[in-house]
Amino acid sequence: MNVYAISALINAITSLTLGLFVFFKTKRNAVNKTFILLSSAVFIWSVFYFLWQNSNDYASALLYTKLLSLGSTLIPIFYLHWVLSFLEIKDRGSNFILFLGYALTSVFLLFSFSPFYIKDVEEALTFNFWPKAGLLYTIYILFSYVGLVGYGLVRLVKSHFDNVGLKRYQIRYVIFGTVIGFLGGASNFFLWYDIRVLPLGNVVISLYVFILFYAMMKYRLMDVRVIARKIFIYFVISAFTYGFFYFLIWLYSHFFGGLFTTASYFIGVFVAPIFVAVFYILDRRIKNFANKYLFVSLYNYQETINKLIDELTTYIDLEKIINLIVDTIKETMHLDRADVFLANTDNGSAEYQAFKIKGHEKNSSPSFSQNSILIKCLSKNQKILVRDELVALSKNSADEEEKKNLSRISEYMGKMNISLYSPLVVNKKLIGVIALGSKISGDPYTKEDLDLLTILSKQASIAIENACQYKQIQEFGKTLQDRIDEQTIDIKLKNEELGRLLEARTEFLSIASHQLRTPLAAIRGYASMLKSGDYGDLSEEARKSIEYVYDSSVRMIDLVNNLLNVNRLERGVINLDIKEISIDQIIKECIKDVQSIAKDKKLTIEYLNEGKISTIEGDYEKIKNALGNVINNAVLYTLKGGVEIKTSTTSEEEIKIEIKDTGVGIEKEDLDKIFQSFSRGKGGTEIYTGGTGLGLYVAKKFIEMHKGKISVYSKGKNKGSVFTVVLPIKP
C-alpha cells in the first residue's frame, strides 16, 4: 500500500467525519447542505482513489478511475455552491455561473464513462495505472477546476475585504483551506498529461479538513463547534479504546500464547481496572486539553451568567456591582480593558460619566453628554455596537447623516481602543454603557460573546438600577435628615425670633398704652370737668359736644384697657389685687360711664339692687372692667327700649348680677362663640361697628379669675339678651 493510497484513505475518513459533524448539527440551512454534498463528493473521490491505488489489474483500475472521477467532477460545482451559500451571494451573475456549472458538470458526468473524458489508464512513474485525459476532461479542468473554483476563490477574497469580525476570520480560513485542498488536488493532474510530477499534493489535501475544523472550533464556522467539540472528545476516547484493545491483542498473542489462554484471562483481571483508571484519567485530561487549547473562547454561558446573577443578588452597593460586572466580563473574555459609564441626571440632562475603568488610565475615558452621537445611537438602537460592524454598517447606510455619524463613532472607538459598546437599558431608558477593549488574544468578538454580553448587560442593568435606587433612597434619607436638622434649627431660630417679637409686642403695648393713656386721661379729665361745669356754664351745643369728646375718650380708654388685658391674659401675667369692693358702687360707676350714650339713644337704664350682700372681695379694676364691658355692650347694642340691671343674692356666698337688654340679641350659633377673643355676634356688627370683640372675652376671664361665672341667654335676633354674672363673696 503506497502513501497515496493512505492519504486517500485519510482524505476519505476526514471528509466523511467533517461531513457527518455538519450533518448531525443541522442539515437544514443551505450552507450545511452544500457542505455535506461537497464532503460526500470528496469522500467518493477519496474512496475510489484508495481502491484505484490498491487495484492490481487494468480493468479494475480503469473502473475505479472512472468512479473516482465522478467525485472529482462534482467537487468544484459543490464547492462553488457551498461558497456562494456561505457568503450569502445570490446575485444573478453568480446564479448563472452556478447554473452553468451544474449544466456542464452534468455533461461531464454523462460522458464520464466515455473515452472523451478518460481515455485510458497507463503506467506512469511509480504507478501501474494512471488515467489519461480526454478532451472533455481538459475542459473539465479548465472550466470546473480553474473556472468554478477560481470564481469561488475570487468571491471569497472579495468578501474577505468587505466583511468584518467573525465572518472575516471564517472567510480567511475557508480561503486557506481552499488553496491547500485544491492545490493539493491539482498535483494529481500532471501525470494525466504525461508531465512527470508526482501527485505529492494529495498528501496535504486532508489538511483542508483540519483547517475548516479549526475555523469551526474557533470562529463558529457553520455553527458546529459544540458538537465538534464532543465529537473530538469521543474520537480521541475511541482511538484510545481501540488502541488499547489492539495493544492487548498484540500483548496476549506475543507473550501469553493467544487471546483465550488461562494466562490471558488472568492478566485480564489486572488489565481491566487499569483500563478503567486510565480511561477515567484520560477522559478528564482530554476534556481539559480541549478546553485549554482547542476551545479557548468556549466558555460556559450558563455558568458565567448564573455565577454573575448569583453574586449580583448578594450586593446592593453600586461600586461592588460595577466591579463585579467589569471583572466578570474582562476575565471571562480576556479583554485588555473594560469600562462602565453611568448616567448622571443631577441637573436634568443626563451625563454619562466613567464610573469604573479597568485596564487603562481614567483620564482617557471622558464622559459623554446626552446629545453625543454615541449616546444617541445607543439610546436609539439599544443594541451592542461593535466597531468592526460599524465599518460595514456605515458603508451600507443610505442615509448620509447616519453614515457620517457611524464612521465618526468608529473613528472615535479606534482612537480610544474600544471594540464594543454594550448599552445598559432599563425600561427602554439608557442608564449606562459598558465599553470594552480588545481581546488580549487579538481574536474578534464571536456571536457567542455578543449573546453573553447581551444577557449580562440586561442583568447588570437591573442590578445597577436597583443599586442606584437604593443609593438614591439612602441619599434621600440623608438629605431628609439634613433638611429636618436644618428646619429644626430654623424653627428654633424662628421660635426665638417669635419670642423676641412677642416680647417686643408686649413692650410696645405697655409703652403705647401708657403713652396713649396720658393724653386720653387729659382729654377725659378736662372734658369731664368742662361737662360738669367746672369751667363755668356752657351753651347746650358746647355741653353736647364736650359730652361726645368725653364719651369718645372713654371708649378709647376701654379699648386700650381691653387690649392690654388681652395681652396680659394671653401671657398669663395678670394678678388680682384683692380688696373689699362694693358691687353696687361699681355698677353705679359703670352706669354713669354709659349714661350720656343711653340718654342720646333715649334708652332707659334701670338698676335694681335686691341683694343683701353689698361688698365682696375682689379686684376693683377688673370687676369694674368686666361689668363695665357687659353694661357697655348692653347699651351699645340696643336701639330702643333699655337696659335693666338687677343684683340679687342666691346664697350666703354668692352675688348674682343680671344685665338684661332689649337689643339685637344673639343668634343661637353665636352664643358659644360670644366669649371668645375677637368674636362678635352677627347682629352686633350690623348696628355697631366700633366693637373689637374683646370686651366679653376679658369680662369672662376676669370673672373666672374671681371664681365667678358669666353666661348669656338670648331668644334670638332682635329679642334682646340677658347676661348673668355670678361672683363668690371670696374668690
Binding site: S510, R517, A521, A522, Y526, M529
Partner: protein, 121 residues
C-alpha cells in the same frame, strides 16, 4: 386748709388736678421730680400725696422707698396715680405703703377728688 402734694411730670395733667383740687378748697403743691417731691414733702408736710410712677430721673417707687425711711413724712397717705399698671409695680407700691393705686385714664378728676375727700374729710 389741707395740703395736697402732686408729684407728676405731665404738666397738662398736674395743672388739671391742681385746678380741680384747688376749686374744692385744697392747697395744691406740684412738683415734677422725686427729689423735689421729697424736699417739699419734708418742708411743707402735705396731708396727702398724689404720686406718679413714671417720672424723670427716678420713679415713683423710688419716692415710696425713700419716704418710708423719712419719719416725718412716712405716715402721709399716698395715692399712686399712674397710667403704668403692671401687677408687679402695683404690688411693690402697696408693699411700700401706698394707700391706693389708680389708673389715670380710668378716672375723672372728680373721681379722684372723691377719693381724696374720703381720706381727708
Amino acid at each position: 386748709m389741707k395740703k395736697i402734694l402732686i408729684i407728676e411730670d405731665e404738666k397738662i395733667l398736674s395743672e388739671m388736678y391742681k385746678f380741680k383740687f384747688s376749686k374744692e378748697g385744697y392747697e395744691v403743691l406740684s412738683v415734677m421730680e422725686v427729689e423735689e417731691g421729697l424736699a417739699l414733702a419734708k418742708s411743707e408736710k402735705p396731708d396727702l400725696i398724689i404720686l406718679d410712677i413714671l417720672l424723670p430721673k427716678e420713679s415713683g417707687i423710688g419716692f415710696l422707698e425713700k419716704r418710708k425711711n423719712i419719719k416725718e413724712i412716712a405716715d402721709i397717705p399716698v395715692i399712686v396715680l399712674s397710667n403704668f399698671d403692671d401687677s408687679e409695680t402695683k404690688e411693690k407700691a402697696f408693699a411700700l405703703g401706698a394707700d391706693d393705686y389708680l389708673i389715670k385714664s380710668n378716672y375723672n378728676p372728680q373721681d379722684i377728688l372723691n377719693k381724696i375727700n374720703s381720706y381727708l374729710k
